[in-house]
């Protein structure tokens, strides 16, 4: 079913909307959740919550891209659950991803941001549009989809060390870009 048709079902408050969403996007969301939570049951629960979240959000929201809209909800829910689930069993892999992002911040423990996240996200999008396409996709695979370095290396037919170095340089460039744009994060 086309995304636009699925969204229409949400607007009509027709519960098959969730069924159709699940058919089309369960695997997609599951992978995103699993990359963060690394546990099948937790991920499934997270994805179910995602679909519920979509049901509550549409309407009033009309997602331009249903895939990234659902992916974003999944990430946010997974991130919230992450602290709770991981109190004892830390996911080192995801911790590494978060640690890497410190490179883009001026201080890892910065106080409340004075900026709207949409504003910063727009600036990050502009940055990503300007850089090499492969570097952009590698960045998004790592920090949007939370892919492991090994998965990214395989996907782009490069070595893990090359993946690391591309990510490092891109993070540093992003930090510079955000500073130039006036965002001191």
């Amino acid at each position: 079913m086309e995304d636009s048709e699925i969204i229409q079902l949400y607007f009509a408050r027709n519960e098959t909307a969730i069924e159709e969403t699940s058919k089309k996007y369960r695997n997609y969301c599951n992978r995103i959740a699993h990359n963060i939570l690394t546990n099948v049951e937790d991920s499934e629960e997270c994805v179910n919550d995602t679909f519920l979240g979509a049901w509550e959000a549409i309407p009033p929201k009309t997602p331009a891209k249903l895939s990234s809209f659902l992916g974003r909800i999944t990430r946010n829910i997974a991130l919230n659950k992450y602290d709770y689930y991981m109190a004892k069993k830390r996911n080192n892999k995801f911790d590494t991803i978060l640690d890497e992002l410190n490179d883009c911040l001026s201080s890892p423990d910065n106080v409340e941001s004075q900026y709207e996240e949409e504003q910063i996200a727009e600036s990050i999008s502009n940055f990503l549009l300007k850089i090499n396409e492969d570097h952009r996709n590698i960045f998004l695979r790592r920090y949007w989809y939370s892919d492991s370095l090994a998965d990214i290396a395989t996907r782009f037919s490069i070595s893990e060390s090359k993946t690391k170095s591309i990510l490092f340089r891109t993070r540093k460039k992003l930090q510079l870009h955000l500073m130039k744009e006036g965002y001191i994060l």
Binding site: S68, G71, L79, L98, I124, L140, F156, I158
Partner: protein, 302 residues
Amino acid sequence: MNNKDLFKTIGYVDGNLVEKANTARRTNKKTIVKWGTMAACAALVLGVAIYTSPLKPSLTNSPQISQQTPVSAPTGDRKILNYNGFRYAFVSDGAQFKFTGVKLEKSLGSLDFDINQEIGKNDGDKDVEKNYASTFAVGGKLYEIPTYPSQFRIAVKYEENYYLAEIVAKTDDSTMTAKEYLDMSNLKDHSKNIHVLNHVGNDVLKKMTDHASVESIIDGLYSAKTADLSNKEYEAIAEAQSQGKSYQLKFNLKDGTYMAMYIIPELRVVSMGDAYYHLPDTFFDQSGELFSGLKQEVLPLY
């Protein structure tokens, strides 16, 4: 803001970029860069020669693939080969091609099996899907074309002549999505302009040369959905073809070759390789005037 906030914020980046990254693989550009670097190295080695004749174009020419012999009449078996799980059709029904500015160095094996003979055997049918089986140029050697690292197109060398083969399907006939096809062909990077022709392809009806519009048409094709056609729909396509409602959508590529699809605007279907795909109405809304007011003479069916 801490790293978790930043991670969340990244969640709000442009959905189009996120979607592209979802299926992204290494782009072609890398290879071009690599070739560029190799050309630069060659330039260093040949520094003096280049210096004395700086305008010599041989090293700066973009790779070209040119057809050397006319398209033969489509008689007999279709000229196809199997490689790496894909069925390839010989471009222009087995015409010979010349590769300029492209080195065919990476061997991909040779065509060891003759599908025609395999079919004749009692248990031959199983070999129709076999890699390195072919209906044409059996014994020929396969080479990767550096400008097609995805191997959407490969070269076949047979009796000192070169042929070009292009993916049309998977050998097990499993579904190939429009996205897979378009990504593998890297149509967006390769395309120079688009022509709309009559179905048989001898009359150009419309041209689209503006780069942004060409890109937008190709982007639109990504929205095509695999069509699991019923017999009725096949009949409708055949009828549309016989009534002059099917057009050739020809993508002229930077390397001098082209890729052709067939499109039937009235039925909202387009062919890519051997498969048909449904196009959403929005594709036609966004394609401007490209498909409006088209007319062609209905040709007699043979």
